[in-house]
Amino acid sequence: MLISLCFGVPLGYILARSEFKGKNLIQAIVDVPVVIPHSVVGIMLLVTFSEAILDNYLGIISAMLFVSAPFTINSSRDGFLGIDEKLEHVAQTLGASKFRAFLTISLPLALPSILSGAIMTWARAISEVGAILVVAYYPKTAQVLVIEYFINYGLKHAMPIASTLIVLSLIIFAFLRWLCARA
């Protein structure tokens, strides 16, 4: 979630505010992970990065990031699109640099959208299985462990881990929503 915020918010801002050649292509690339099967995402990542991401934490992070980042990018873009550009222009005429106008005006106003996207990013990342199964079976994540228990020992043995995951996710999700509402 933090990684996707670091590059998703600036990218969302650029997509909202700038007109340039290839913008539609970049937008399409951002949306690709949402529309293709996640096992295919895993294969794409393996073909691109091969050994570097195979069966390690980097592989898990890459898979989670690839499938979930579109939520932060698109929510940030929509958040910035909803803000009148004139607010930034006026801030600049009052002496703020473009960056300061972004930090003090656009960012706080787009924050609810950005946080909402970040929560969805987190939710999508922790629910990812397909791409992780292909890229990094080990070190084993909880999601992969549920699948392994289900296949090897059946439903009864998979249920405790699945239930724990549901409760944990619910608590974290509620906490993040509460944080978002406060912000």
Binding site: D84, K86, V90, Q92, T93, L94, G95, A96
Partner: protein, 230 residues
């Protein structure tokens, strides 16, 4: 004081064509034109939001054509006032002063002075969305005047206000001008508003300056233009 020399700018399908005029210090200069005549694009080019393709803009003899907006010392009030909705009225007014790193006492004194002149003392802790159109306009003027700009740009400041408030505000602007003393460039499509406020009026049609003169001269031009268009 503010001088434009052959300024041209194309934005989407619209063009400003070789705009030239001069605004003297302390003058209230009104740009009059129909909707779509290029008035807002012209103001935003002067404010530095857009860069002209050709021509020069001078402020007190200094070439500011390619300076970014934050280095121009030109205040800009757009049609919708663009108050920062997440900040209180006080924080809106002090936004520019904080960037200029003015000390606390000076900031407080400036806010007191402006809010008294503009009659917004009771609104300082309110959020912009709770204000009426007239109140928003006063706050926008206070916010811009706080940084003591060389020129104040006003884009159709009365367009969203009803007639009674508009007439009162026109009178008030004249009073504030006498009290504070600022140079203003005001755009409008309303001939009466232009005549009531302006020291000098510039008539602009389809991105071109047609005439510059006092209210009386421009009224003649404006009427003949209307007749020609029928």
């Amino acid at each position: 004081m503010l001088e434009l020399k052959d300024v041209s700018k194309t934005w989407r399908e619209f063009s400003l064509k070789k705009i030239s005029f001069k605004v003297e210090e302390g003058e209230y200069f009104v740009i009059l034109g129909h909707s779509g005549a290029g008035k807002t694009l012209l103001l935003e080019t002067i404010a530095g939001i857009y860069k002209p393709e050709s021509g020069k803009i001078f402020l007190k003899g200094r070439d500011i054509t390619y300076l970014p907006p934050e280095k121009r010392r030109i205040g800009y009030i757009p049609q919708n006032f663009a108050l920062f909705p997440h900040l209180t009225v006080y924080d809106n007014i002090t936004y520019g002063l904080k960037i200029l790193k003015r000390d606390q006492n000076e900031v407080r004194r400036k806010v007191e002075e402006l809010s008294e002149i503009l009659g917004i003392e009771g609104l300082l802790q309110r959020r912009p969305k709770t204000l009426s159109g007239g109140e928003q306009q006063r706050v926008a003027i206070a916010r811009t005047l706080a940084i003591e700009p060389e020129v104040l740009l006003l884009d159709e400041p009365f367009s969203n206000l009803d007639v009674l408030i508009k007439e009162r505000l026109i009178e008030e602007i004249k009073n504030w001008r006498d009290e504070i003393g600022f140079t203003a460039l005001h755009v409008t499509h309303d001939l009466n508003e232009a005549v009531m406020l302006a020291d000098k009026v510039c008539l602009i049609v389809n991105g071109e300056v047609i005439a510059i003169g006092d209210g009386f001269e421009i009224t003649k031009n404006y009427k003949s233009l209307h007749i020609a268009s029928f």
